[in-house]
Point group: C2
């Protein structure tokens, strides 16, 4: 089991600054689930009645829903972006410096979202990477943003 | 059980735009756990050996650690901010429009983080709220940022 786990870790990319170039990109696809759409309610028992039905059954909360269906609050799409950065580009060991997100359109349970990041700029002096970040639903952007990430160089890894 | 669940939902604040004023603030406290620090590795079996030990045992990843201890990549502190916004101020039904985060200092497993948001600006024409967001560790900021949130007004709730 321990070997499998190590293999799991080792299979994740962890790029060094020298491996990066402007224009490199990475992406993943996620489907919005009920638990993605209604986070922070972990205490609630998810029994026979679905969380979504519960929301609809509560007039007060139903009135706060938009567009006729429960809408996620952006955290899900932002987490997909962080997932691509942390596990693909630059991968494990990325040090997040700053991020911005614009939530452009509502995201609903069942939506299929492609999260994509692309390297726009490399700052050699401080090993910093600027990534353009976007989430797309059927090709249309639902999130756009930017991230600054610090990445180790190969010469630093054995110090 | 259904009643308990509804009560759980109903206990969460869900403020209307009319309830808000510049200077209002809310906060919560969280402690960084191993699973917070090493997200996106859900496939891994968390058996006798801890995830943290596994990381240390892998020379390659150990070399990518900073400051002698595994450092979270900001997602945890950002999620605390989103939690305060979604469950306290303005609470359930908040529509996230945009966010920015600056990660000012590394956050480690075991750190106790206070996430705090404060209303800085209210735009009446479009029911929008600008929040200053910060995470503090022993009083020192580890995250600073801003969020624009749209909130329903009371007159909209019964349409």
């Amino acid at each position: 089991v321990a070997v499998e786990r190590e293999a799991n870790i080792a299979n994740l990319p962890a790029l060094y600054f020298e491996d990066l170039a402007v224009g490199q990109s990475a992406s993943l696809i996620g489907t919005v689930s009920e638990s993605d759409a209604i986070p922070f309610l972990d205490d609630m028992d998810n029994g026979e009645e679905s969380l979504q039905e519960q929301f609809y059954s509560t007039e007060f909360y139903a009135a706060r829903l938009r567009f006729g269906q429960y809408v996620t609050h952006g955290v899900y799409t932002a987490s997909l972006i962080n997932n691509v950065i942390s596990t693909q580009l630059p991968g494990v060991g990325s040090v997040f410096l700053s991020q911005s997100f614009q939530y452009l359109a509502p995201v609903r349970i069942g939506d299929i979202i492609t999260a994509r990041v692309e390297i726009m700029e490399l700052v050699y002096a401080r090993r910093r990477v600027r990534l353009f970040c976007e989430c797309l639903r059927e090709g249309a952007p639902v999130l756009e943003g930017e991230a600054w990430i610090a990445v180790l160089s190969r010469s630093e890894t054995l110090t």
